[in-house]
Structure formats: structure tokens, C-alpha cells
């Protein structure tokens, strides 16, 4: 399988990464090189094989559903580029 330039633009948008027109052909070449490399996986017979969902067979640890941490909004927002009253500021999203 290989990707065309329209697909490259669509993937970039899905990934929320801006690409310039000059970058598209180059990215297309690199993505197609990787897709060509993984092509050989098609020859493996995976009939009846379960996909791996847990690296180590183990029951997921659980804990009581209770608040164990928090109460420090100033720390949580401390690294944010723009905040106001412990809210993260973004451009207007609702008209």
C-alpha cells in the first residue's frame, strides 16, 4: 500500500501537524518507504492468532474509586503557556 499527496495532507490534519506544500512530497516518500518496509507482514499467517493486548499476563491492578491526590490547581496550571484563574486559556472555540 502507498499513500498519495492528498492522503499525506489528510493524515497531517488528523495528527494536527501543519505541513507546508514543499514538505508534502518529501513526507510522501518517507511514509511510503516505511509502508513498503512493513509490507512483508502480509505474508505471515495470522489465522486464529489473538492480538497481543497485555505484554505480561496479569490482572490489571485496581484501587478504590476515591480521590487520592489533587487540590493544587496552581501546580497543575504552573507550566501552562497561558492561564487565568487556574483555567487554561485557548482561542475562542464556541461562537
Amino acid at each position: 500500500m502507498s499513500v498519495d499527496q492528498a492522503t499525506v495532507r489528510r493524515i497531517a490534519h488528523l495528527a494536527r501537524i501543519a505541513v507546508t506544500e514543499e514538505e508534502v512530497p518529501h513526507l510522501q516518500g518517507e511514509l511510503n518507504a516505511m509502508l513498503a518496509f512493513v509490507e512483508q507482514l502480509a505474508e505471515v499467517n495470522v489465522e486464529g492468532v489473538e492480538p497481543m493486548t497485555s505484554v505480561t499476563p496479569m490482572v490489571m491492578k485496581k484501587r478504590q474509586d476515591e480521590v487520592t491526590d489533587g487540590g493544587y490547581a496552581d501546580v497543575v496550571t504552573g507550566n501552562a503557556p497561558m492561564t487565568e484563574d487556574h483555567f487554561f486559556l485557548v482561542p475562542k472555540v464556541v461562537e
Binding site: R16, E30, V38, V49, T56
Partner: protein, 493 residues
């Protein structure tokens, strides 16, 4: 006391307890060495004040006879580990001046046991790379050079800063992480020892995520024993990581020097890849002979799905990365590039904040997870992963204790030499190590000899899940037989 930077971690520990040297003296010696070695670019941040304060506290405990397991031992920390109040970037511009308000579990464990932090070590951006050339801080220069040449070489990656700092005697040991070979390949390139423990042995909490089902923390240090000492402190249960196992941590150091007589060591025929350099093949045979001489039985084994591990990895790892790295949005932390609306802000921030390799991997991951391709790529790769794991399980069920392979297909290469046109050329570096991550098993790289150009070469041992002890015992035999590596003279100082 001779130069404290020449000591191994175990020697430094013993010298501290014998009061032949103080933690402050050791720390000062490393801080001075780091200053002279800035040209190697191994550290992206030096923390001398914190280091000296920690060393002073260690000296007080040592004086009171209350030394903890790593008391006063000076370490470097890969910049993928969140360190409270100390800038943590993962080698990326998108994290910019991120200063965590929390400490990773693994580094917390190290400080709990008395270790001293010298600074943060360079790495490939988000640990994506095999040469430390993708870091936003620029590449790391290996302390090693080819005989009679001044060509700068890569230290390997992604834990290139960790490996270079250990080999250049800029710390007693370092933390590292391994998603596809990022501990073992740089260890092999720099004549140092590095272990990727079993998935779930160390907590991933507070380590910047790359591919969560593959990432695992581990140490790089000068000897097998030093690795055993560090791993014992790094490993252990953690309620904050649901994939971290609730198993007690053995005394790994006790396994160093244990007899390997009667052990069965597997040699996987599928690792004899086309075009393998003769010196790698010879190194591998020499390693097998050393183990046979130590009383182990060498048996040929088969891991039939080996060749599919690397392509399957290049679906699974980018897919998980594209999901993990979605958090870098310019809103909550790190770089923000203004945009006309929120999507524009995301797209501009991520285009500017991520480097080329990271953007490429996010895009491939986004593609293989996108509607219509998920089953063909991601689900198929996860099925192949099941088959890869089963290959190992079958070999171990047949009575094999550990598997011996080369660590890398070649010695270290020059900066800028690989991956320029075709990214796959660089990815092939991990052909021997990536299988181990796919199966979640432990693997250790140990120096075993030198290339014709005088560069270190390493062997890899792969163990059963949660049997790091056998790896330490077998690796010690190789280390003893090969002889301690003479680290390069400080041409950079």
C-alpha cells in the same frame, strides 16, 4: 585516593563505606569532569547545587553509619525522567522549559536509596532514534573514535547521553529507557553494560511516554555488577503504574558471579542475518565458546518470526506514539504557537515543536490507526507480536535458560552517516534488540570485544520474563572472559 571518576559504581560504594573517599569528593570530581566534557553534549542540564547538597546529606549519613544502598553514588538521569523542580524536556522543543511538579517513580527510588543526581542526559527526541541525532539539543559525540581517526561517532540512541556519560566517566551510572533497543544499542556502541528489564519490572510512572506497551526503564553502567546494583533500586511495585508488577525485587548483585554450569544457552539461527559482518559473527562465536568453557550447554534454537519483529515494531511503536504524543497541544504545558483558532494553534504548535523524526512517526502512527487501516496494520502487527512472544516461550519451555545474540549489526557509525534518505536504514540498527521489547522480555548488552577499527562491540543475552538474575550471572561470565573495557582517554577534556 586516585581519580574518583575512574571507579566503578561498586568500587565507589565500597570506598565510601571504607571512608577512603567522601560523597562530596566523588561528586566534585564528576562535576569537574562534566564541565570539561561539554563538547560531547552528553548532559543537557547540569545540576551542581543539587548534586552537592545531596552529596553532603549522604556524607552525613555515611558518618552516622546509616548508609543506604546507593548512598553518595553520583548518577546521570536521562532527560525522559521527570525530576521535580528540574527541567525535563525529552529532548524536544515542544516541552521547552517544562519543569515537573513531581518526580518519576524510578528516580524517587534512586533518591530514596541515597543516590546523587549530577544532571539530565541528552537523548533522541522522545526516545525516537538510534544515534542521538534527533535531539533538540543536538547530537551527542561518542567518547570513542576509530583508531587513527578523528571522525566524530554517534554513541547510539536513544539513550546516547547516558551511554556517552558512562563511557566518558561523567557519572558512575545512568538511567536510560528502552523501547526498541535504546539501552542495549548505545551500551554496545560505547563499551558499557545496559539492561532492559522485563516489561513491568520498573514503573513507567513519570517517564515521558513513547510507546507504552514497549517502554521500560533500566540502567547503563560500566559493569554487570553496577547494573545489578542500580536495577535493584530502580525496580519494584508501584501503584501508579498498572502495568508494573507486584513482585518482590531480588538481590540482583547476589546473582553476579554465580556459576552458569549446566545452564542451556540458545543460539537463534534466525539472527544470522544476511550481510552480517564477519567480525560480528566471530564475536558471537567467541561469546558462545566462553559460555561453553564456563560449563553451559550451547544449543541451536529457532525463533521463526524474528524477521517480522522490526516491521511489526514500526507499526506498534508509531501507533502508540501518535496516541501518547497527542497530549502536546500547546495548551497545558510546553511550547505554544498562536493560531487563528484552536485547531490552527494545535497544528502550528505541533509542527514547530516536534522534530522531523517525531513528526514522521506520529504521521505513520496516525495512518495505521486511521479508519479502514486499523485491522490491516495495527491488529495484524499485534497478532504477529503474539507469535513473536510464542517463539520465545517455546524455546524457554524446551529448557533454554537464556539466549545469546549479537547486540548490534555493526560498531558505532559516524554522525550524519545513516538514515539520510531512507529512514529504514537507521531502523535496522535495532534488528537484534527489538524482538525483546515486542515480547516484553529482559535483555542485557555486555561488551565482548572490538571491531577491526578499535570500536567496542557487544553481545546481547535475552532471558525469561522476570529472570534478570540469570542474565546477570551469564553476562558476568562474558565480562570476565572479555576483560574490562579500557575506556577511551579523555581527548575531549
Amino acid at each position: 585516593m586516585t581519580d574518583a571518576t575512574a571507579l566503578t559504581l561498586a568500587e565507589a560504594r565500597d570506598a565510601l563505606r571504607a571512608k577512603q573517599v567522601s560523597a562530596t569528593e566523588i561528586t566534585q570530581a564528576f562535576l569537574a569532569a562534566m564541565e570539561k566534557a561539554r563538547g560531547l553534549n552528553a548532559y543537557v542540564l547540569e545540576t551542581p547545587e543539587q548534586a552537592l547538597a545531596m552529596a553532603k546529606a549522604s556524607d552525613e549519613r555515611l558518618a552516622r553509619g546509616e548508609a543506604r544502598p546507593l548512598e553518595g553514588l553520583a548518577l546521570g538521569i536521562k532527560d525522559l525522567y521527570a525530576t521535580k523542580g528540574v527541567r525535563t524536556t525529552a529532548g524536544s522543543n515542544i516541552l521547552g522549559n517544562f519543569v515537573p511538579a513531581y518526580e518519576s517513580t524510578v528516580t524517587s527510588n534512586l533518591w530514596r536509596d541515597g543516590a546523587v543526581m549530577l544532571g539530565k542526559l541528552n537523548n533522541d527526541e522522545f526516545a525516537m532514534g538510534s544515534s542521538n541525532e534527533t535531539s533538540a539539543f543536538g547530537n551527542v559525540v561518542s567518547p570513542w573514535r576509530r583508531q587513527g581517526s578523528n571522525t566524530p561517532l554517534v554513541p547510539g540512541g536513544s539513550s546516547g547521553g547516558s551511554a556517552a556519560a558512562v563511557a566518558a566517566r561523567l557519572c558512575l551510572g545512568a538511567t536510560a529507557t528502552d523501547t526498541g533497543g535504546s539501552i542495549r544499542q548505545p551500551a554496545a556502541f560505547t563499551g558499557t553494560v545496559g539492561i532492559k528489564p522485563t516489561y513491568g519490572r520498573c514503573s513507567r510512572w513519570g517517564i515521558v511516554a513513547f510507546a507504552s506497551s514497549l517502554d521500560q526503564a533500566g540502567p547503563i553502567a560500566r559493569t554487570v555488577r553496577d547494573n545489578a546494583i542500580l536495577l535493584r533500586s530502580m525496580a519494584g511495585p508501584d501503584a501508579k503504574d498498572t502495568t508494573c508488577v507486584d513482585l518482590p525485587v531480588p538481590d540482583y548483585e547476589a546473582a553476579v558471579g554465580r556459576s552458569i554450569k549446566g545452564m542451556r544457552i540458545g543460539i537463534p539461527k534466525e539472527y544470522r542475518v544476511d550481510g552480517m559482518p564477519a567480525e560480528i559473527e566471530a564475536l558471537w562465536e567467541k561469546g558462545a565458546k566462553w559460555l561453553r568453557d564456563a560449563g553451559a550447554e550451547i544449543v541451536e534454537v529457532s525463533l521463526p518470526h524474528t524477521k517480522y519483529a522490526l516491521p511489526a515494531y514500526y507499526i506498534v511503536a508509531p501507533a502508540e506514539a501518535s496516541s501518547n504524543l497527542a497530549r502536546y497541544d500547546g495548551v497545558r504545558y510546553g511550547l505554544r504557537v498562536p493560531g487563528k483558532d484552536i485547531v490552527d494553534l494545535y497544528e502550528k504548535t505541533r509542527a514547530q515543536g516536534f522534530g522531523k523524526e517525531v513528526r514522521r512517526r506520529i504521521m505513520i502512527g496516525t495512518y495505521v490507526l486511521s479508519a479502514g487501516y486499523y485491522d490491516a496494520y495495527y491488529v495484524r502487527a499485534q497478532k504477529i507480536r503474539t507469535l513473536i512472544k510464542k517463539d520465545f516461550e517455546d524455546v524457554y519451555a524446551a529448557g533454554v535458560d537464556a539466549i545469546l545474540t549479537p547486540a548490534t549489526p555493526s560498531a558505532a557509525f559516524g554522525i550524519g552517516e545513516k538514515g539520510g534518505a531512507d529512514p529504514v536504514e537507521m531502523y535496522l540498527n535495532d534488528v537484534f534488540t527489538v524482538t525483546v521489547n515486542m515480547a516484553g522480555l529482559p535483555g542485557i548488552a555486555v561488551p565482548a570485544g572490538f571491531s577491526s577499527e578499535g570500536l567496542p562491540l557487544g553481545l546481547q543475552l535475552i532471558g525469561r520474563a522476570f529472570d534478570e538474575e540469570t542474565l546477570f550471572s551469564v553476562a558476568e561470565v562474558i565480562e570476565q572472559a572479555a576483560g574490562r573495557v579500557d575506556l577511551p582517554q579523555a581527548w575531549w577534556a
